[in-house]
Amino acid sequence: MIGAISAELLKLRKSWSTWILGAVLVLGLLLLGYLLIYVLVQNPPPGDRGAQAGIAALKATLLPKNVVPNVLVFLAGLGGPIALVIGALNSAREYSLRTITAILTQRPSRLGLLGSKVIALAILLAVLAAACFAVGVVGSLAVSALDRTPGSLPSIIEIGKGAAASWLILGAWAALGFALGMILRSTGLAIGLGLVYALVIETLIGALGFGLAAFENVSRGLLGRNASALAESFGQVSVGGGQAAINPPVTAALVLAAYVIGSLVVAAILFVRRDVT
C-alpha cells in the first residue's frame, strides 16, 4: 500500500497540471486575497464616510489577526473549483490515458488502488492547504509591516483549526470531482460538469433560495454554501456583512464530511463493480 501511495504521489508530483493548479491556488490567494485588496485600500476611491468605513473594514481583513478567515473564505470560493478539477483529473485521467488497464493488471485490488489514489490526493490537498496558510501568514505580515500596523497572528491552535477546515473544504470538492471522474470516465466531461455545478447550479439555487422556502432547504445541502458557512465561522471578512451563513459551523462541517464520504462510496462502488472497457 505504501508503495502504491508513493507511486500515486510520484504521478501527482511529476504532472504539470498539479503544479499549474497549485500555483493558481496559491498565487490567486496572494494576488486576489492580499495584493489587489492592498492596492485598493492604499488608493481608495473618493466617497462618503460609509465608503471610507468599508475601506477600513477591507484593510482589516488583510491583517495577521484575520489570516484564518481570509484564507478560508478564499479557499471556499476559488479553491473549491480548483480542488474539483484536481479530483476529477486524479480519477478520470486514468481512463483518458487508458493507464487504468496497465495498473489494474499489475496486482492491486481495485479498492487498494482506489485507496492509494484517495490517500495521495488527501496528502496533496493538505500540502496545498498548508501552502495557502503559509502564503496567508506571509501576506498578512507583509501588509502589517508595510502599513506599520502592529498585529499578531492568531494562536497556532486557531491556525491549525483553520487549516483542518480548509482541508475539509478542499477535500469535499476534490471528492466530488473524483467521483465525477469515476462516473463519467472522461476528464473533460467530469471537469466540465463539475464546474457547471460549482459555478452555475450552486449560484442559481442559492439565489432562488432567498425567495422560496423549498430552494432554501435545498441550498442548505449545497457544497459551496456549506463551505462558505464553515469558512465564515472563523470570522466575517466580507465587506458589508455578506450573506447569512446557511448552516451553523458544526452542521456545515458534517455536510462537507458527508460529501466526502458519499462521493468516495459512489466512486468505490462503481470502480469495483464496473468492467474496465
Binding site: G3, S6, L10, K14, T101, A102, T105, P108, D275
Partner: protein, 305 residues
Amino acid sequence: MPDSAALETHDLSKHYGRLVALDRLNLTVRPGEVYGLIGPNGAGKTTLLRLVLGLARPTTGGVRILGEHAGTPAGLARIGSVVETPAFYPYLSGYDNLRVLGAYAGVGVDRIAPALERVGLADRGRDKVSGYSLGMRQRLGLAGAYLKDPDLYLLDEPTNGLDPHGIAAMRDVIRELVRDGKTVLLSSHLLAEVEQVCDRIGIIHHGKLLLEETVGEVRGAGRLLVRAEPLAEAAAIAERLPGIERVELHDGALRIDVDPSRAAELNRALVTAGIEVSELRSVARTLEEVFLQLTGEPGAAEVLE
C-alpha cells in the same frame, strides 16, 4: 480444473446486453507452450483477454491461471501482459512509468534497469514517454511485463507498430521466454507470425472456440493438388475413392484432402478413367487457408463436396 494448465477457461461466457461476446468458451493453455489465439475482428479475443486479466467479469463460467482465479492479486501476480497498444503516463519517463507499475506489482526498483536493458531502452529510460515512438512504447510495455517475472505472458498484437527488425526481435523474445520455461498466450492478426512461433493455436469466431490444435494438426497431414482434363470428371472420380474427405476446386485445379502417400493410387484411378493428368503433387495447407475456411471469411475455397 486441473492445476497443470497455465491458463484454463471453463464454459466462459460474456454477454453485453443482448450481444454474446463469448459463448461457453473452453480453452486450455499448457505450461511452457506458445499458444496463438487468432480470430477475425470482433471475434471475442479482446474480451477473452480482459476476462483473463480481471478487467471484466464473466457472465458465466470462469478462468484459472496456474490454479488461481483470474483478476485476483494472486492470479495477476503470475501474468505479465502487453494488451493492445500499451498505455503510459506521457509526462513521466519510461523509468518512472515502470516505477509506478512496479509499485503496484509489489516489485522493487532494482528490477527496472534490467527490464529496460532487456528491451533495448536502457539509454532512453530517462526520457519522457511522450517522445517515444509506437515501437518504443511497445517495447516499454514488454519491459513492464518483465518486471513481475511472471510465469504466463499475455501478448496482444505485440508486433503492432514494430518495423521488420522489431518484429524479428519480438519473435526472438517469445522464443527466449519459452526457453526460460515461460508460457506465452499470443493474440495476433498476423497468421504467418503465429504459424512461425506458436506450438498450438485456438481459432475463435463469434465468441466460440472453433478449433484448438497444434499447428501441425491444423495444417493437416497434407493434401494433393491435381491438374487434369476434364477437371469435373476428375473431381467425380476422386470423390468416389475411399478415405477422401474433401475435394475442392481452386484456381483451375483440384485440392484433395488425402494422405499424400496415396498419390500413386489416385493417379492410377484417374489415368484408368481416361483423364489426362498434367500435374499431381503434395501441398501443405497454410494456416490462412484453414482460418478462412473455418471462419467463412471472403476468399475461402469453393467446396465441391
